[in-house]
Amino acid sequence: MTYLKLICCTVCFKNGLHSLSTKSVLLKISNAQYKQHLAKISTSHFYNSNLPLTSQSQSVVAKKKPKNVPQDTRVWKETPTHDIKNNLVQYCMMLSKFRLTSLVVMTSMAGYALAPAPFDFSTFALCAVGTGLVSSAANSINQYHEVPFDAQMSRTKNRVLVKGLLEPLHAIGFAAATSVTGLSILYFGVNPLTAALGATNLVLYTSIYTPMKRMSILNTWLGSVVGAIPPLMGWVGCTGSFDMGALVLGVILYSWQFPHFNALSWNLRPDYSRAGYRMMAVTDPALCRRVALRHTGVITATCLAAPYLGVTNIWFAAESLPLNIYFAYLAWQFYQKSDSGSSRKLFRFSLLHLPALMLLMLVNKKYWSSTDTQENEIKMSDIKVTDSKRITVLPRGPVVAAQESDSEGNKC
């Protein structure tokens, strides 16, 4: 009985089970082979059980569905949706690619916290908020540009613009509001250099990286630069200038992007090929694995060098080594086996590796808080002050008096 199976399907879905595949075949309406046609029968959010990697991004969307509204299973729906006001927060989160933005904000906060200058909580908060808003704007513009491409790929076909829940004007309006607010917060609340970096990143991501994804594999290197800028924004927000520590943090974030992204893209090769995205995983799989491995080496080396460059204390090198070695080991496995299992492990670990590494850097920071550097400065200035006091307190010595009498004597 097909309707019984449908009930099973919807019940299973509501309970969060992923195994719709065998049941879904029986409920096909058309002769199409794609699972996305289940949208006609059940709700529009559902998992592609063959690609658990994608479920990470889909799961947030499914959980955020409004609870007080019965699930809408109509085939034709209003576009844009009429329940925007009820779910404004959810839609903003979807437009901003909330999980990605959170990671970006975290790296920016880490950059601020690691910088060797006084920690000012309000500036720190403004930097985080500003970075988050600018990142949201960038992601929203990216979604606006890529609607037909996102529709082609399983990982992205449930985005709000693809499904018609929001329209392009909403995305651009949201982007305009968040970018202006974010950049203003950075300019007035933090410093102009941070705002300039934020604006540069916004332009790089939306106007250069996004089109380049379809033109050349060099987009991955540019995208890594885009990923490395937020911690620099945080650092510069604290100290006001670039220095060695900023470079170290930037290099670590830049190199991290490669194992992270190359592993993610490995299982999406069919989709990328059909949608026309030029990624290393498709055009040069050997290069893809080599680059991922190479950059785990760079991360390990940079972390070992961090104490000698004055960014962290010596313990950081020892503590980060196991983490980095394991990361490199997973990259090595990926290089050797080049299969979906090893790529998935590498991708998942990269999501743990970055926050863990940031935490270790923070805990092992060389100049622990504002007090460290300030105390040093105060000590230096104290010494100078006491020295000068000593000189003035002493009465003019006999040598000086003698010279004066001499000169007086000479005058006479």
């Binding site: 046609h37 809408d72 576009t79 540009h145 529709a151 082609q152 076909k157």
Partner: protein, 165 residues
């Protein structure tokens, strides 16, 4: 309600459950039939197309639409059709070429190729279609920006009309 509709197909049963919410199409319509542009209260988006993966939008055709709104609606329709044509052709070509590749390279007894073996095909397809993709990209960006400009104008006019009233 589901019981009574089991012979007519599941979809219809589900449809009537929510017919109160659905003001635009009547339950007697088959779910596949798109709504009438003159009878809907706002634009409606449909299911993804099996080949092109794009969702068709039926644009509301108001009796009182202005020249600008008409232009906007017609451009949106045109871009939608252009996209639909491109992706239908492109995706069909992809699957046909993939079938040919599998037919030529599948050894006896195996039903699937490994990911690495398939990646040769994926790379070849991507390289062959590079120029087509670049041209499509440029066209798409131009059309998308034009549509955005028109959308902004239409929105402004609508806001001012409401203010005047």
């Amino acid at each position: 309600m589901l019981l009574t509709y089991r012979n007519n197909g599941v979809q219809r049963g589900i449809y009537t459950l929510y017919s109160v919410r659905n003001t635009s199409t009547t339950p007697e319509n088959k779910f596949q039939q798109p709504p009438n542009p003159t009878k809907i209260s706002c634009d409606m988006v449909g299911p993804p197309d099996p080949v092109s993966n794009l969702r068709k939008i039926i644009f509301k055709k108001a009796a009182t639409e202005t020249q600008l709104e008409k232009k906007y609606r017609e451009l949106r329709t045109e871009v939608q059709e252009w996209n639909q044509t491109f992706w239908t052709l492109h995706n069909s070509r992809f699957f046909k070429e993939r079938e040919n590749y599998l037919k030529n390279n599948l050894p006896e007894g195996k039903s699937n190729l490994t990911a690495d073996e398939m990646s040769v095909f994926y790379k070849a397809f991507l390289d062959k279609n590079w120029k087509i993709h670049i041209n499509y990209n440029i066209e798409w960006y131009k059309k998308n920006v034009t549509l955005l400009g028109l959308a902004i104008k239409v929105k402004f006019r609508q806001l001012f009309r409401i203010k005047d009233k």
